[in-house]
């Protein structure tokens, strides 16, 4: 029973970490290894996987170059559009809103997130479809406005769908921002805009970076919104993966794309953290 204090601490740490570690190994590491193995194999004649050791799937990546390109363009643009909408909301919630109403307002931001994105995206199909906004526009004499199944609709859907994920980290970083720093800035002669650019914005950068990284990464795997609001006319990596696994059952090629996507995500993450460190001078990027 003789156990040193340090030994006990290690044992406790081990017990605390074990469930998460086991979870990660079973549901993240092992599947990822499987996907790497698959990606080096060949497609069986009737679909699926057939063991092999070849880089052919990776050589074939250019066949999905357009999907990669669309995704790598959409993800940052979507994230930035999200940011443009989310920042003022987060700023209002954290800085301007009456503290009495703050909790309620924050809940209002979060609550829609509890319902299925599919259902909420369906709602947008009606809002943007001809019975929605275009129908209202006809009342004021503007005819034949098409919103649904346009890049604009995709952008709206993405901004809407990912807004809470962008608002929350920014809100958190703005909320813990010391108001005296803003007073200090004003005291030192900075106009409100200078204070915002010189103090508020840099100090909320960890939240901004967290939000942007989070939304960008999720957007790299997005396929539902472009499918529903973009009319399936824009093809993303997510769509390519779904088609390869569920339609043409080319698991090795799908795996190679998935592995590549994971690498892209890692690069994006590292980039975001470096940028956050440079801008905010802090190593903490609270990646949820």
């Amino acid at each position: 029973m003789a156990m040193s204090a340090a030994g006990k601490r290690r044992a406790v740490t081990g017990l605390l970490v074990a469930p998460a570690a086991a979870w990660l190994v079973v549901f993240l590491v092992l599947p990822f290894i499987a996907i790497v193995v698959f990606s080096l194999g060949e497609r069986a004649p009737e679909g699926g996987y057939q063991p092999a050791l070849t880089l052919a799937q990776y050589m074939n990546l250019p066949a999905r170059a357009a999907a990669f390109w669309n995704t790598l363009v959409l993800a940052p643009i979507g994230a930035l559009a999200c940011l443009v909408v989310a920042y003022p909301v987060a700023y209002y919630l954290a800085v301007k809103a009456d503290p009495r109403w703050r909790l309620l307002l924050v809940s209002l931001v979060v609550v829609p997130f509890w319902t299925s994105l599919l259902v909420r995206t369906y709602a947008w199909m009606y809002i943007l479809g001809s019975r929605g906004i275009p129908n209202l526009l006809t009342l004021v004499g503007i005819e034949d406005v098409r919103l649904l199944n346009t890049p604009f609709a995709v952008l709206v859907g993405i901004v809407y769908g990912y807004l809470p994920l962008m608002i929350m980290p920014i809100y958190v970083s703005l909320e813990k921002l010391d108001r005296r720093l803003l007073e200090a800035s004003a005291d030192l002669g900075a106009r409100p805009v200078s204070t915002f650019l010189g103090v508020t914005l840099p100090l909320s950068m960890p939240g901004v970076m967290t939000g942007v990284a989070l939304v960008t990464i999720l957007l790299l795997g997005e396929y539902l919104i472009p499918q529903l609001l973009g009319g399936g006319k824009v093809f993303f990596i997510g769509n390519a993966l779904v088609d390869l696994f569920l339609q043409s059952r080319n698991w090795p090629f799908g795996s190679a794309i998935a592995v590549t996507l994971v690498l892209v995500v890692v690069v994006v993450l590292l980039g975001a953290m470096r940028l956050a460190y440079r801008v905010a001078g802090t190593r903490q990027v609270d990646l949820v």
Partner: protein, 360 residues
């Protein structure tokens, strides 16, 4: 900004209300150019509100604040020729020391050229003895160093008035004493008006030229530290500033009062006759080892303080009195022991007469 105006800061009938609560109740105040003024009072007395109204972070509900003769009503903080050293300093954590100090210079229009900014930042850091610290991050600095960065950041802009909000509260006692001296000499050398807010009477008395004692949203007394200490305007000041024995008494004639135990003592002359309160500083009382006199008691406690000793003396019918004795200065080589009977004497001028306490 008229350079000839004698007062850097003026308050004219300034009232500040927060909803139903009145924080500042009609204050008139004038801070002469080049003065080091301390706003002293217990928490909630309105001193910080006054400072924030000078800084522009609060607007008076009534009346006006003038800086160098100009009304500041509606003037935002960034247009006021004052700078503040905030409580807990409010340094920018994302900027290094140099950038913190340069912050105000970079806001100035017309723009100051980069080389000039660097020169003035270096000068300011040298002034607060932080040369070579420019590249440090704020969280790498000690409390005292942060305090000096905050000073440099404010002073580098050469404000008309420097506002200091409890600037030493976060420092330990030794550092606080050192910074008190440093602040005082800085103020002397720069000739900039300092307005300091503190709840620490010792700090206020030791640093400033003028102490403005506040209570419940009013200015109770504004005077030199010496005068505040020796001639407190009322019982509150007497009690708040330094230690004081407060005795219920009845003035029978100017300069003569009867204490609660019936003994007659000589006090400072006053117009008042009848129920009153007498305040005597502990160091104004002398102790003698004898059982008889006008005022006698028994030593119940003694605290040795090095250069002095504090005695608690129980005077039957009057109460417990605090007496500070400079024992090295007395001819008696030995200290008075608890339990000994003593006679208490004081100069009549040191026994100040105030109106009776409201509870009496």
């Amino acid at each position: 900004m008229t350079a000839t105006h004698p007062n850097d800061i003026e308050f004219r009938r300034v009232v500040k209300r927060y909803g139903a609560v009145t924080a500042v109740t009609g204050i008139d105040l004038a801070v002469p150019r080049g003065a080091f003024v301390a706003l002293l009072g217990p928490s909630g007395c309105g001193k910080t509100t006054c400072l924030r109204m000078i800084g522009g972070f609060e607007q008076p509900s009534e009346g006006e604040v003038l800086i160098r003769g100009e009304a500041m009503t509606g003037v935002p903080p960034y247009r006021r020729p004052v700078n503040m050293v905030f409580q807990h300093y409010a340094l920018f954590p994302h900027l290094d020391v140099s950038a913190n100090v340069a912050y105000g210079l970079k806001q100035m229009r017309p723009r100051i050229e980069t080389g000039e900014i660097a020169r003035r930042v270096a000068e300011a850091l040298e002034m607060v003895r932080l040369d070579g610290f420019g590249g440090r991050r704020i969280h790498e600095l000690s409390g005292g160093q942060q305090q000096r960065v905050a000073l440099a950041r404010a002073l580098v802009n050469r404000p008309a008035v420097l506002l200091l909000d409890e600037p030493l509260a976060a420092l330990d006692k030794k550092l606080r004493t050192a910074m008190q001296i440093e602040l005082q000499s800085l103020q002397r050398n720069l000739g900039i008006t300092f307005v300091l807010v503190t709840h620490d009477q010792e700090e206020a008395l030791s640093m400033s030229d003028l102490v403005c004692v506040m209570n419940a949203g009013r200015i109770v007394q504004m005077a030199t530290p010496r005068e505040i200490y020796d001639r407190p305007a009322d019982l509150f000041v007497a009690d708040f500033v330094g230690k004081t024995n407060i005795l219920d008494a009845s003035v029978v004639a100017s300069g003569r009062a009867r204490l609660a135990d019936g003994s007659m003592v000589a006090v400072a002359p006053s117009d008042r006759v009848g129920a009153a309160t007498v305040a005597i500083r502990p160091e104004a009382i002398r102790l003698a080892r004898k059982a008889a006199g006008d005022l006698t008691g028994t030593v119940t406690n003694r605290i040795f303080l090095g250069a002095t000793a504090e005695y608690a003396v129980r005077v039957p019918g009057v109460g417990d009195l605090l007496v500070t004795a400079d024992h090295h200065a007395t001819s008696k080589s030995d200290l008075i022991e608890p339990g000994e009977a003593v006679a208490l004497t004081f100069d009549p001028g040191a026994a100040l007469v105030f109106p009776a306490r409201s509870s009496a």
